[in-house]
């Protein structure tokens, strides 16, 4: 079996002292920062990106994945203990998890989240190992028009599946692409959107944009309603689950894993969609649906498993096609590019040690999450009580030095300041900044494939619709847009009619 050979290769890469150490540090740091109030996985990863740049690519990616799992688990911890979900996908966990905590069952809720995440993560990692290589092989047969169509489909789908206004989200994608095109044009060397500044010749620094929008902008948003939040944290005890609890969580975890693995591959709100739908499924098939919202352990197990499975399988399009399905994956691609690796189907074949090493490390990372977090829960609880007014200046300082360290260039610091303001304004106007980041990452690739496709077709734009694969994908993209726009248009009309 080829897959076992590949996994063996992966483990031989991941199970070195160095890489296990980086995985450990990643999970630890990710949890440490993710558990701090108001910091979800995206700002956590953005903040910690610079410290991975000095590492070799495999170690850097392993550490970043560890940070991601850690941050996500940290978000679940805050959701359960203080009803403050760090990101939208753990909103669902907060519903029943927090109720469990109030009933003194915080330990059971946290253990359920950890076990559910670990199981789902393991299964989804295996799926990733099985399905990624054939998908990459398929993608290798794609020509530039197919690639262009695939990217358009990915962007449209991520917009269509996310919440909020579709038109605004599309506008954010386009704006992101435009920003992503800044810097020297690859073909002619002409500087674009650089305002004659030599420092911008390489384009807008990705880390500066991500940290500005998701770090600095987020801080200002948190300072806006800086009310005296007294954090009451119950003592966490009883991490062991009773036999009855175990019986109750097996089903939800299995269903959540299945659902999450499938939905996670889809672009856009994979993790969010999967946790929400896992919750509603559990509630629907439960024999005592009245317990949901009042501390039902199934309401923690299902969504947490789905959430983590989705987080894992969202690596599939990122690693095989080079297409980010969510902001976290956009950050990962950014990290790959900075490491000098062009994400795409070639990674599997040309750098199997990198690819399989990452996959093996995912399993190790998930395992570490359980080993690390259950015993250390006391420390995390104490971190939860750190007041925000002490915390945020430290984050500002960390972002500053972090972004500066990328290129040793002050222009990146100023860029971050600018995008902090931009990020805040966009959020105030209900324009989600996440699609902007996706567009920013995909932008240069999109232009590249468009140019190549037009060169092949001798300037004939119908090439996208005469080649079957690209026509199908563009058709799907249009279909997705129409479907999403229709009901909302209708709803808006109805509301207008009511006046």
């Amino acid at each position: 079996m080829e897959i076992f050979d590949n996994l063996a290769l992966g483990f031989s890469v991941a199970v070195t002292f160095q890489n296990i150490f980086y995985c450990f540090i990643g999970v630890l740091l990710g949890t440490l920062i993710g558990v701090l109030p108001g910091l979800g996985p995206v700002p956590t990863i953005a903040m910690l990106l610079p410290i991975t740049f000095g590492l070799p690519p495999v170690s850097a990616l392993i550490m970043l994945s560890g940070i991601y799992y850690g941050a996500q688990y940290g978000g679940s911890t805050t959701a359960i203990l203080i009803n403050l979900p760090g990101e939208s996908s753990s909103v669902v966990t907060a519903i029943d998890g927090y109720q469990m905590a109030r009933q003194g069952r915080a330990g059971a809720a946290l253990a359920t989240a950890a076990i559910g995440s670990f199981f789902a993560g393991s299964v989804a990692t295996f799926l990733l190992a099985v399905f990624a290589p054939p998908l990459a092989d398929l993608a290798l047969k794609f020509g530039p028009p197919e690639y262009f169509a695939l990217m358009v489909l990915g962007l449209v789908a991520s917009v269509a599946l996310a919440s909020g206004s579709v038109v605004k989200a599309l506008a954010m994608v386009v704006l992101g692409i435009l920003l992503g095109l800044s810097g020297q044009d690859v073909y002619t060397g002409t500087p674009r959107f650089t305002f004659d500044m030599l420092e911008l010749a390489d384009g807008i620094e990705f880390v500066a944009l991500a940290m500005g929008v998701f770090g600095i902008g987020e801080i200002v948003r948190n300072l806006e309603d800086e009310h005296t939040r007294t954090v009451m944290v119950q003592k966490v005890k009883g991490l062991l689950l009773s036999r009855d609890d175990i019986k109750r969580i097996i089903g939800p975890i299995l269903r959540g894993t299945f659902l999450g693995s499938f939905l996670g591959i889809l672009p856009g709100g994979g993790a969010i969609l999967s946790s929400f739908s896992a919750y509603s499924i559990e509630k629907k098939i439960s024999r005592h649906p009245e317990q949901f919202g009042k501390g039902a352990i199934e309401g923690v197990a299902g969504p947490e498993a789905a959430n983590n499975a989705g987080a894992q399988t969202s690596f599939i399009p990122m690693l095989t096609l080079g297409i980010p399905s969510n902001p976290v994956m956009a950050l990962m691609i950014g990290a790959l590019i900075i490491q000098g690796i062009v994400p795409g189907p070639n990674v599997v074949n040309e750098q199997p040690d990198l690819f399989w090493g990452i996959i093996a490390s995912m399993w190790i990372g998930n395992f570490m999450l359980v080993v690390l977090n259950l015993p250390l829960i006391g420390i995390w609880v104490r971190l939860l009580t750190v007041p925000y007014h002490i915390l945020f200046p430290l984050i500002v300082g960390f972002c500053c030095i972090g972004v500066y360290s990328v290129n040793n260039n002050a222009i990146d610091v100023f860029t971050m300041a600018l995008f902090g303001v931009v990020g805040y304004v966009l959020v105030k106007l209900d324009c989600e900044p996440a699609p902007l980041l996706l567009g920013f990452i995909i932008g240069p690739m999109l232009e590249e494939y468009l140019r190549r496709a037009m060169l092949i077709s001798r300037g004939d734009p119908t090439v996208f619709f005469t080649r079957p694969i690209s026509a199908t994908m563009l058709g799907l993209a249009i279909l997705a847009l129409v479907v999403v726009l229709l009901p909302s248009v209708r709803k808006k009309r109805e509301e207008a009619f009511q006046e």
Partner: protein
């Protein structure tokens, strides 16, 4: 005015998007366009700017016509005057000061200044905690970024007698 602008947030977003589209189009105009078969550096940006402008106009129009805002519906108002201007300004200033100071002043003073300025953004500012935070962050960044990651950066810059 309130009659004409049905949804201030949508209108403001639309105007902002249209403005950005115009800005990018203006910038792209200076670039060689090329033709479809061999696109110049200005080709794709111009298409995108056009698309952005189109989307902005849709947002703008929907804000002018659809979904009027109820008087009590606070979520659709921008609340421009209630924005946290002081924190926004101070945090941005802190970052800018760091960027300006990092070369001439060195890591120590610029980090200290940036953290101190940020602490002032909170309503619960206290001088002792602010100084303590600044000190901790200076020590931390020295340990991690200069000692740990070997960033070629002096603690004290040329203006303060460093190298």
């Amino acid at each position: 005015m309130t009659r004409f602008v049905k949804n201030p947030k949508e209108v403001a977003s639309g105007l902002l998007i249209v403005f950005l589209a115009a800005f990018f189009a203006w910038q792209a105009m200076e670039l060689p366009m090329g033709r479809a078969i061999r696109m110049g550096p200005g080709y794709f940006p111009m298409i995108l700017a056009g698309l952005l402008g189109f989307l902005g106009i849709i947002v703008l129009l929907s804000g002018l016509t659809l979904r009027p805002v109820e008087a009590q519906d606070e979520t659709q108002k921008i609340g421009f005057w209630h924005w946290p201007w002081v924190p926004l300004g101070l945090v941005t200033l802190a970052v800018v000061v760091f960027g300006l100071g990092i070369r001439p002043l060195g890591l120590g003073p610029s980090m200290g200044l940036a953290v101190f300025l940020s602490t002032m953004a909170s309503r619960r500012f206290k001088l002792t905690t602010a100084l303590l935070s600044s000190f901790i962050m200076v020590a931390f960044s020295w340990a991690v970024f200069i000692k740990g990651l070997g960033l070629p950066l002096p603690m004290l810059g040329p203006w303060l007698g460093g190298y």
